[in-house]
């Protein structure tokens, strides 16, 4: 059976109709969720509101077997008669023609949608119980259908509806988590979180850029520059400084200059100091055999080789000259002897100049 939903037109101010509406809401909710097992609301025993045991049963003529009665619990607001909270906001159905006589309320119901339905119902109630019945008619594929729903309720105690609290708690937890993410984002320079119209941490953009500006002051020192890059990544640093309009190139240049003056060749050769590499490399790398270069210079010299010999360079004009070619007496499968002394290097250089 397709679940129906209820739209309550009038805001009633009496307890009896309100119970009916709450019951109908509970019934439709239970139907919509497929029964008690998937009830969406949660209750806590002990609280200001009323806990009701609700039983309902649906009968349809022509069905091969009777549908079993369903029982579930529902928490109703104690002040529901005075509060709009008790009135469910449901589409498709509306309740009209509400009449109250004594402890009995009667009403009519119309449901729109693909399978429109109409019907009437009545509920008799006391402050601690109710019984009701509703008959509905529907025409589906040209065939008229009838159904009868009976329901009853009994107040069993007090309860608190935890749903709203859960939502509030979840929202608070989400906010706290987001605050943590944004805080970490500032520390690790995840600029995507702070840049753009839909950035998740846009509200903290100023804090983020203040952080970036502060880092920029520190990063003029190579050690601080290294530490910042190690903590995040070069891509993150570049993206963050660009996002905050902080001139990274100028800061990098200052750090490179400092690194060159302190002979921090590992920093100079990192790919950010290419102007310095060309100058320092010409002094410390050019013209040397690679395997004779001091290991403290390898970062500088590797970058120098890349800049002077790699694609996109102007050729090998500025590159180190070829290593001396040794000419062993025999063609043996071995490593060429490394130049033992300056005299040998001179001989080898002379050989290269001779046309044989």
């Amino acid at each position: 059976m397709r679940p129906y939903r209820i739209a309550l037109a009038p805001v009633v101010n009496r307890s009896l109709p309100c119970i009916a509406f709450a019951l109908l809401f509970a019934t439709s909710a239970a139907l919509a969720q497929g029964g008690m097992g998937q009830q969406t609301r949660t209750f806590k025993i002990g609280g200001p509101d009323e806990l009701w045991d609700v039983t309902m049963k649906m009968e349809m003529p022509g069905m091969p077997m009777a549908m079993p009665a369903q029982t579930f619990q529902s928490c109703l607001k104690k002040d529901r008669a005075k509060s709009e909270d008790a009135i469910p906001k449901q589409d498709n159905c509306k309740v009209t023609d509400v009449k109250t006589v004594g402890n009995k309320v009667s009403f009519a119901m119309e449901c729109a949608g693909n399978d429109p339905m109409t019907g009437r119902g009545e509920i008799t109630s006391t402050p601690t119980s109710y019984d009701g019945k509703m008959q509905m008619k529907s025409t589906r594929r040209g065939q008229e259908m009838e159904m009868t729903q009976t329901f009853s309720g009994k107040k069993v105690g007090a309860c608190t509806d935890e749903s709203e609290k859960m939502v509030a708690n979840a929202r608070a937890a989400g906010d706290a988590q987001m605050a943590t993410i944004c805080g970490q984002g500032i520390e690790t320079l995840q600029y995507e979180l702070f840049v753009g119209k839909d950035a998740a941490c846009q509200a903290q953009r100023k804090a983020f850029c203040d952080k970036v500006t502060g880092l920029g002051r520190d990063m003029r020192e190579p050690a601080a520059y290294k530490a910042v890059v190690a903590k995040s990544s070069m891509e993150a640093v570049q993206g963050s400084f660009k996002a905050c309009n902080v001139n990274l190139a100028e800061i990098s240049k200052a750090a490179c200059s400092k690194a060159t003056s302190t002979r921090d060749w590992a920093f100079v050769g990192n790919g950010l100091c290419d102007d310095d590499v060309r100058v320092a490399g010409a002094t410390h790398c050019k013209g040397r055999d690679y395997y004779l270069v001091d290991r403290s210079l390898t970062s500088l010299c590797n970058r120098y080789a890349r800049l002077t010999r790699g694609p996109g360079t102007t050729g090998t004009a500025g590159a180190p000259p070829a290593a001396p070619t040794s000419t062993p007496a025999q063609a043996k499968a071995s490593e060429p002897p490394k130049p033992a002394d300056p005299l040998q290097q001179g001989v080898d250089a002379l050989r290269k100049l001779l046309p044989f």
Binding site: D289, N302, R309, P311, A331
Partner: protein
């Protein structure tokens, strides 16, 4: 006048049509003078090369295939007895004497790091009784690997008319050898030792000077003979990116290998920001 206009137009058209090809060719061979043949691969894909399929003298790069066959034939703990012929081997050697007994793993280390020909011959004779028999197996294994421009006449890389390999074949060979964990572990070492069964220890450095100097360098094999010139199969890995360089007949192989490796990693980053400086090699 009309003819002259047509001529200018034709020249212009030909020039324009050739220009992209020329640029592309330049991009494929940025080191035209670096080597008789070279090949640079990034994550298994050829990026730059010249004469990659031409047959060159491979010198001691031959020992990559020898090592592969040894690893496929014996366990590292197998005892090898050095023959008089192996003890007399020419060229690079660690000084083995006839009758010495060593583990095959130690001889492999000496052969791959020091390029020791005495260790190389001892291993070949241990696996196949004679070097000639071992060479037959080398060529069969090479064929099985799909080496179409390679042929071997000795186990250790001595120059010979029919002893040759192409850069592309050597890349395939390096792939097969590096798939052997023992090979990959040995060639990445900066130093090695070989110990005889009676306790004598030979210590040697890896002839691949990129290890410890180039970030992520994992060695592989060097080679040199007069005919072959300076040769290198070099591997470097940074993060998940692997760069393999093959240089044959490269007068300035170290500087050019460094330039190729650094350029390849730059290329793999797509011209992006340079690598973090924490990845720079630590001077020792």
């Amino acid at each position: 006048m009309v003819h002259r206009g047509l001529l200018v137009a034709a020249v212009l058209a030909v020039t324009l049509s050739l220009a992209p090809a020329a640029r592309a060719a330049g991009a494929q061979n940025p080191w035209p003078d670096a080597a008789a043949a070279y090949l640079v691969r990034i994550d298994g894909i050829e990026r730059w090369s010249t004469n990659a399929s031409t047959r060159q003298k491979p010198a001691s790069l031959t020992k990559i295939l020898t090592a592969l066959l040894v690893l496929e034939s014996v366990v590292p703990s197998a005892e090898v007895v050095v023959s008089p012929r192996a003890a007399r081997a020419d060229g690079a050697r660690i000084g083995l004497a006839a009758g010495m007994r060593l583990n095959a793993g130690d001889l492999l280390t000496a052969m791959l790091l020091r390029s020791a020909n005495d260790a190389c011959l001892a291993l070949a004779e241990h696996v196949a009784a004679t070097e000639a028999e071992f060479v037959k197996r080398m060529n069969a294994r090479g064929t099985a690997l799909g080496l179409t421009d390679s042929h071997f006449t000795n186990a250790c890389g001595f120059d010979a008319p029919d002893h040759y390999a192409s850069a592309r074949d050597l890349a395939l060979l390096a792939d097969a050898a590096l798939a052997q964990r023992a090979f990959a572990d040995i060639v990445a070492r900066e130093k090695g030792t070989a110990r005889t069964r009676d306790g004598r220890v030979f210590r040697f450095d890896n002839t691949n000077v990129l290890i410890g100097r180039v970030d992520g360098a994992r060695g592989v094999k060097t080679g040199w003979t007069k005919a072959a010139g300076r040769c290198l199969v070099g591997l470097a890995q940074r993060g998940h990116t692997r760069v393999l360089v093959i240089l044959l007949g490269a007068p300035d192989r170290w500087w050019d290998a460094v330039a190729m490796i650094e350029s390849a990693f730059d290329d793999a980053r797509g011209g992006g920001p340079p690598a973090p400086m924490i990845a720079a090699p630590v001077p020792k």
